[in-house]
């Protein structure tokens, strides 16, 4: 066990965990931020996507001792009032079915739009290809990303 100081969603936290603990479980078990989801544990599905200094990473393989002083953003901190253009577009297009993968989809899309504010359809598909939606909401996700990009 070791003490780690973390900056999550603009707040400072301190946790006492094993250094090999993935951020996914630090967030979910220790910081009570459960919006980041467990899907595969091996960076294959994208449900656990968070931002490290604005870059989308898979928190299931991002170990707590590798974070250092980088700023962590989770779905809970993507916007102050849940009104990020992507969150609004997700509601407008009524994207979710079961909803479980959607926080990961939104976090991945937010990093995409930050790097490429007006992606083409192909760029969206390819950037989002690591995020699985088992319910099959892909066409709506793409439409919502385009709506957010145009807002």
């Amino acid at each position: 066990m070791a003490i780690f100081k973390l900056k999550v969603n603009r707040k400072e936290y301190q946790v006492d965990v094993d250094p090999s603990t993935p951020m996914l479980w630090v967030l979910r078990d220790h910081l009570n931020l459960v919006g980041t989801k467990f899907g595969c544990g091996m960076a294959q599905c994208g449900a656990c996507t968070i931002h490290l200094d604005g870059i989308a990473v898979r928190s299931c393989i991002t170990f707590v001792d590798s974070v250092g002083d980088k700023e962590i953003t989770t779905i809970e901190g993507l916007s102050e009032n849940g009104d990020h253009p992507l969150q609004q577009a997700w509601i407008e297009h009524d994207v979710p079915q079961c909803g479980y993968c959607q926080s990961g989809q939104i976090m991945n899309a937010a990093a995409l739009l930050k790097a490429n504010p007006h992606p083409t359809d192909e760029e969206i598909e390819s950037a989002m290809n690591g995020n699985i939606c088992r319910c099959g909401t892909y066409t709506r996700i793409k439409a919502a990303i385009k709506t957010a990009a145009n807002s």
């Binding site: 479980w25 459960v34 091996m42 479980y100 996700i141």
Partner: protein
């Protein structure tokens, strides 16, 4: 308007507080936060609620809370079921809050997510719940104003008495209405007067989903809760011999390691108790990562089991199921299926004289179709919270079959039914996997042993290798043509491991004079169960691909060929047990023909068509694709659907789009194979699911407009697209795709 008697659902309209036990309170605050939802933002929460019946309560300010009775699995019933109540209550949807109901069989009927039946079966009850509450509010207003109730009208949550000019919001009379007796009969609205049903309403959990608030079983927490995981046999055909937990117990955060036994020896399992692994090792600790890491240090010895029989209490009565010993492989399954298909099967339906017709035929077309085992892979792995004490058990989490699992839990824990409290969280998918709730029993036994609240979590590997899979299927189709290319006989012989997909009385039964349907099955120890549109999810692919080949051999357009058969089935059906409505079937084919411009715009396109009937609804698809064998690009999918009245159109379109993507993904890539009893795939690096780049570029959905009561939508849009895809792939590549997965398959490689 329709007048209906309320007897049918009378128990539902009695106040729920009289019926629910105090045991529901544990964990209730978390659920109140996670499971109640604003239909839209900005309602003010009332100071006081008045319960009108088990389905709804009204606040003094007119805000209404409607309970959504059925488990929410992504099919959006948490929005659409309350919409139906709100419609008959005649209230403004903006003033509706929705809460997930707990399991309460005293109030609610059929709290099950399965069979595409939530809306279909609850339609009358939900309407009566709203209508009877409206009548009680009208009775209360009539009493207050001292006027005949017949003169009271309602609109958007306001009661009016036109002659006197009096009006009152529902909230103003809710207190009085709550004291009145339940009416003996109520008026239901005419369909033409619907204001909510048939309009698109946003998912009531949408805001919570996109902001990452706790909603799912995996998100549930309780003070003092421990985390548990299970270790199960690595292969089907194996059982636990012994284990050594010495190392595991030394790992940080680990509290206990022990064996659990899912059933008592004399227990007769129900259909929802399907499981291959009844003896497991449980590891319990403080946090998820500690338990997950410690799992690797468990030393376990497994051993093969001998043949055994299990008495299952099924829907069709008790049956003795033989579970053979052995470590099975896909190669062995395929060889056995090929051999079985060459022998006569069990005759399930025979019309005319098919044997003679095949003998006389000028041409016989014979094709074989196969599909592999599939794992359900819902995005949220199996999990459940349990808090079991000597005289009470609370279970909270994602389950499709709570009212059945309640019985299993009561039997295993030795508690009366009323001491089992089950609360349903939103489910991160299920697709049938969460009908089989052995994980609830596991969680309960672990909690009972450690005497603490416990959340059981499966890893993805547990989820895929401890499956209740879609069976492996095999089908032989034959068609006989006379010398003028008329279809004179049709023969289907279906089999599978360990069950087949035959629906003997479905189309084209009823449309061909000489018809033979046979079945066979090969025993297996691999556990199988329902996956989205069971049976149909193979039938539609095989049958609709075969019909495409038959139409081609006859020199007919594939749509006209199907319509000609359906015309025959409608006007002069063969046999009496045909389970489909030929006119509705033809209706969706005509609709997809027109919407896709099949007759005018097909030139130069690689198009395939298919249509299927299952779970009481009818769906037809046209698929357009470009590219080649190695890189097909699905440009557009058209869907035409007859599922009766559509409650929430945009949500229905969403579910259809999802079913189409799911169908394309499973038929193109889905495959679970076995070597020595062990699944060869165990996570998303080896078990392939469809991804963004592989989804259709465009999906266009059309519904037949009619006044038929809703007939279900969760499953029907899933099967036919796979057939349409196979037929479009043929157009693009010149090859027939008869074996799934289409891009790679164990059968032919």
């Amino acid at each position: 308007m329709t007048i209906v008697k309320t007897e049918l659902n009378r128990r539902s309209f009695i106040k729920s507080s009289l019926l629910t036990g105090g045991g529901l309170l544990i964990g209730f605050n978390w659920l109140a936060a996670a499971c109640s939802t604003s239909a839209s933002k900005g309602q003010s929460i009332p100071d006081e609620w008045f319960e009108i019946n088990g389905y709804l309560k009204i606040g003094e300010n007119g805000v209404v809370t409607i309970m959504s009775p059925n488990p929410e699995i992504g099919q959006n019933v948490k929005t659409s079921m309350p919409m139906i109540v709100a419609e008959e209550l005649d209230v403004d949807w903006k003033n509706v809050l929705v809460e997930q109901a707990p399991l309460n069989t005293a109030i609610f009927n059929r709290q099950l997510a399965g069979g595409s039946d939530s809306i279909k079966q609850s339609w009358p009850g939900l309407r009566m719940a709203g209508a009877s509450a409206r009548k009680m509010l009208m009775d209360a207003a009539a009493k207050k104003w001292n006027v005949p109730v017949e003169e009271i009208t309602t609109e958007l949550g306001i009661l009016y008495h036109k002659n006197s000019g009096k009006k009152a919001g529902y909230g103003e009379v809710a207190s009085a209405a709550a004291q009145l007796p339940v009416p003996k009969e109520v008026e239901l609205k005419d369909l033409k007067d619907f204001k909510i049903i048939g309009t698109s309403k946003k998912n009531v959990d949408g805001h919570k989903i996109v902001t990452g608030q706790p909603l799912f079983g995996l998100d549930y927490k309780k003070e003092g809760m421990l985390i548990a995981m299970i270790v199960h046999p690595p292969a089907f055909g194996m059982k636990l011999k012994s284990f050594d937990a010495t190392d595991v117990k030394t790992k940080p955060g680990i509290k206990d390691v022990f064996q659990i036994k899912i059933f008592n020896d004399d227990y007769k399992p129900q259909w929802c108790d399907t499981t291959s692994f009844t003896e497991l090792v449980a590891i319990v600790g403080n946090s998820t990562w500690e338990v997950m890491s410690a799992k690797a240090y468990l030393k376990v010895e497994w051993e093969p089991f001998a043949d055994y029989k299990i008495a299952m209490a099924g829907w069709g009565g008790d049956q003795l199921v033989n579970v053979p010993a052995g470590l099975e492989s896909t190669a062995e399954h395929n060889a056995k299926m090929t051999a079985a298909s060459a022998k006569p099967g069990k005759i399930e339906r025979r019309d005319g004289n098919p044997e003679e017709a095949f003998k006389e035929a000028a041409k016989v077309i014979e094709r074989t179709y196969t599909a592999p085992f599939l794992a359900h892979t819902p995005m949220e792995p199996m999990n459940f919270f349990a808090d079991v004490t000597a005289d009470n058990a609370v279970l909270i989490g994602p389950i499709q079959s709570p009212e059945y699992m309640e019985k299993t839990l009561a039997a295993r824990l030795g508690l009366p039914l009323e001491k089992i409290d089950i609360q349903m969280t939103r489910m991160g998918g299920g697709f049938g996997r969460r009908l089989y709730g052995h994980f609830m029993v596991e969680a309960a036994l672990i909690s009972q042993k450690v005497k603490a609240p416990v959340k059981l979590i499966y890893t993805r590997e547990d989820e895929i290798t401890f499956g209740i899979y879609r069976p492996a299927y095999h089908a032989l189709y034959r068609a006989a043509l006379d010398d003028k290319n008329n279809l004179i006989a049709f023969h289907v012989k279906m089999g599978g491991v360990p069950e087949n997909a035959l629906h003997a009385n479905r189309f084209p039964a009823g449309a061909v004079d000489n018809y033979l349907a046979e079945s066979w099955a090969i025993e297996s120890n691999i556990s199988v169960g329902a996956m989205r549109a069971p049976g149909s999810n193979f039938n539609a692919v095989a049958e609709q691909s075969f019909l495409d080949e038959v139409a081609e051999a006859m020199g007919k357009d594939p749509i006209q060929f199907r319509l000609d058969l359906l015309k025959r089935a409608k006007e002069n059906p063969v046999g009496e047990k045909n389970d489909y409505d030929a006119a509705r079937y033809a209706g969706v084919i005509e609709l997809v023909r027109d919407k896709s411009g099949w007759e005018k715009d097909s030139a130069g396109k690689n198009r395939g068509v298919a249509a299927y009937f299952c779970h009481s609804s009818y769906v037809a698809n046209v698929v357009d694709l470009t590219g080649d064998k190695d890189n097909p690009v699905i440009q557009k999918v058209y869907a035409a659907i007859d599922c009766g009245i559509v409650v929430n159109p945009d949500a229905a379109i969403n579910m259809t789009e999802g079913a189409i993507v799911d169908g394309i993904g499973q038929s193109m890539y889905g495959q679970l194979t076995f070597s020595k009893g062990q699944p060869d795939q165990d996570n998303f690096d080896s078990y392939r699911l469809i991804r963004h780049t592989e989804a259709p570029k465009e999906i266009e959905v059309h519904f037949v407009q009619n006044e038929i009561h809703p007939t279900g939508l969760g499953e029907p849009p899933y099967p036919p697209v796979m057939g349409a895809l196979a037929n479009a792939l043929y157009k693009a590549t010149g090859d027939r795709y008869r074996h799934q997965p289409f891009i790679k398959n164990s059968f032919e490689s």
